[in-house]
């Protein structure tokens, strides 16, 4: 446990212990709702959010990124409802556009390297105050889950069925999209645009392989997420490699193991 002698490693471990259960929970409904593309697009839109912040001369880019992501999430949800075009295509278009605009603005004058940490994330640089923000995000998600989970779940299974039970489908969809936007933006600097979706999707997808109901699904997803986070962080320290990608590799290994174990969990 020598790595814990370093303050930055302590902070990183704390951050991982907050982010991973959070992603484990949130990921379950992203996977069930087939929203993987959506959360990925949101991650990419962080570049444009940051670019807008830079253009407007904000000192920190957190607030403009958050506001842009919220608007982006609601826009995507609105387009999904209105358009008859395939949702995947639509989201891809917006995702590419979000990335491109951000890259164009941020690379002007040739100093994009200043922002490249956004791509792979840097969990070792997290401060105590920022850990508190993450804790806030975890609490927000837990409260949302306790209050809205059943309705969100009903909507994901069949919208008309949910509607017939008096659930306001649009409100739930919008709230969930906004929640994803908030969580993605609060964690993107530590996790990185290229990696965030893997961390959201892999634990839940792995858990789905071995679960037969919602309780198992959540329990295994959180356990697998936390395990890959801690294991990945420790490995990255000894390998002297970037933490985020190492965590993703561990998650992917867990996923493959559950995939192989799947036949043994089916009745």
């Amino acid at each position: 446990m020598e790595f814990l002698n370093y303050g930055f490693m302590k902070n990183a471990l704390l951050a991982v212990l907050i982010i991973t259960p959070l992603f484990g929970i949130l990921g379950t409904m992203i996977v069930n709702n087939r929203m993987a593309f959506f959360s990925d697009a949101l991650g990419h839109s962080a570049l444009t959010g940051m670019a807008i912040g830079v253009l407007l001369g904000f000192s920190g880019t957190g607030v403009p990124m958050l506001l842009f992501a919220l608007a982006f999430a609601l826009l995507l949800t609105y387009m999904k409802r209105k358009s008859t075009a395939s949702t995947d295509t639509l989201i891809s278009v917006f995702s590419s556009l979000g990335t491109a605009i951000g890259l164009v603005v941020l690379s002007r004058g040739g100093n994009f390297s200043k922002y490249s940490a956004l791509l792979v994330g840097d969990i070792l640089s997290i401060t105590a105050k920022e850990i508190l923000y993450l804790l806030g995000a975890l609490v927000l998600t837990l409260v949302f889950w306790l209050v809205f989970f059943n309705r969100l779940h009903a909507v994901s299974v069949n919208q008309s069925l949910a509607k017939s039970k008096g659930i306001s489908v649009r409100l739930i969809e919008d709230l969930f999209a906004m929640l994803i936007a908030v969580i993605v933006m609060l964690s993107i600097r530590w996790v990185g645009i290229l990696i965030i979706n893997a961390l959201l999707i892999l634990p839940a997808a792995a858990s789905a392989n071995i679960s037969s109901n919602m309780r198992e699904y959540h329990l295994f997803s959180v356990i697998l997420s936390v395990a890959s986070g801690v294991l990945g962080l420790v490995l990255s320290y000894y390998l002297n490699a970037a933490a985020g990608p190492t965590i993703v590799i561990v998650s992917a290994v867990f996923f493959l193991v559950t995939l192989l174990a799947k036949p043994f969990f089916a009745e």
Binding site: V157, Q159, A208, M214
Partner: protein, 264 residues
């Protein structure tokens, strides 16, 4: 002789089914509730998908909506559910007390938007639809028992812990039907609820519906492609093609010139 006893056996089975369905409610259909839809229209931009649809439905009746593909049947269902914006009015009137009431709708969907191996049990879906006890955290005994008893009305109590993806077409249908009937609705909407079910399952399904509306205080609107079953079980039929082309008893509609124009 043999055919005769088969018939008798079948009749007995059907009677038992109807009686079971009847236990859902002590009240018999009174015919004193009615649902009146006036000038319903749904538009995509300015293009009408359906328009000027008028329907009048009394409790205890099964109304079948038939029509070619793209005639607007599912759109009508979505308008009634309030899922699609529509013009016109839907009123639910209690003629005994002569006042308007809020219409409670039960809906049986065509299919579910879940992957075959999704970790969703029957309990999870049922509880999500009728309660706010978070299914990802708790399995409350009282709720579990309530759901079991509701499932039992459709002979589906043994399925409560099964994954939705492991159910057969007929089993899923019975589960969805018991969700739609919890709490007891005034109007039951069935949107082609018989895909992936064999002939015997289909007949059982219709028998159950038949029993429900006979003994219950509820109306049924059914979208269906199966004209033979519609003929046997519907009290009235609506032929839809953007608007109501023809309505009446199954026989009257199926002998109409409009029916022959569409179904040949």
């Amino acid at each position: 002789m043999f055919a005769d006893s088969e018939k008798k056996k079948k009749k007995k089975e059907r009677k038992a089914l109807r009686e079971r369905a009847g236990h859902l409610s002590e009240r018999a259909a009174c015919g004193l509730h009615c649902i009146k839809m006036t000038d319903i229209g749904v538009y995509a931009g300015k293009t009408p998908i359906i328009e000027h649809v008028n329907l009048h439905i009394h409790c205890g009746k099964l109304t079948a909506v038939i029509g070619r593909n793209g005639a607007g049947k599912s759109t009508l269902i979505k308008a009634i559910l309030g899922e699609r914006a529509h013009t016109g009015t839907i009123e639910f009137r209690d003629m005994k007390e002569n006042k308007m009431k809020k219409l409670r709708i039960g809906y049986v969907p065509q299919h579910l938007n879940i992957k075959k191996d999704a970790p969703v049990s029957v309990y999870d879906l049922f509880a999500s639809c009728i309660s706010n006890v978070p299914v990802f955290l708790l399995r409350k005994k009282a709720l579990y028992d309530k759901i079991t008893s509701r499932l039992a009305l459709f002979e589906a109590e043994g399925l409560i812990d099964k994954k939705l993806g492991d159910l057969s077409g007929g089993e899923l249908q019975r589960v969805l039907l018991s969700i739609a009937c919890t709490p007891v609705p005034n109007l039951l909407l069935l949107d082609e609820p018989i895909s992936g079910v064999d002939q015997k399952g289909m007949e059982l399904f219709y028998e159950t519906i038949h029993g429900l509306k006979e003994k219950y205080d509820l109306s049924v609107i059914l979208v269906s492609h199966d004209l033979a079953l519609v003929k046997e079980y519907a009290d009235s039929v609506i032929l839809l093609d953007k608007t109501v082309l023809c309505e009446g008893t199954p026989q009257a509609v199926m002998e109409s010139s409009q029916f022959h124009e569409i179904f040949g």
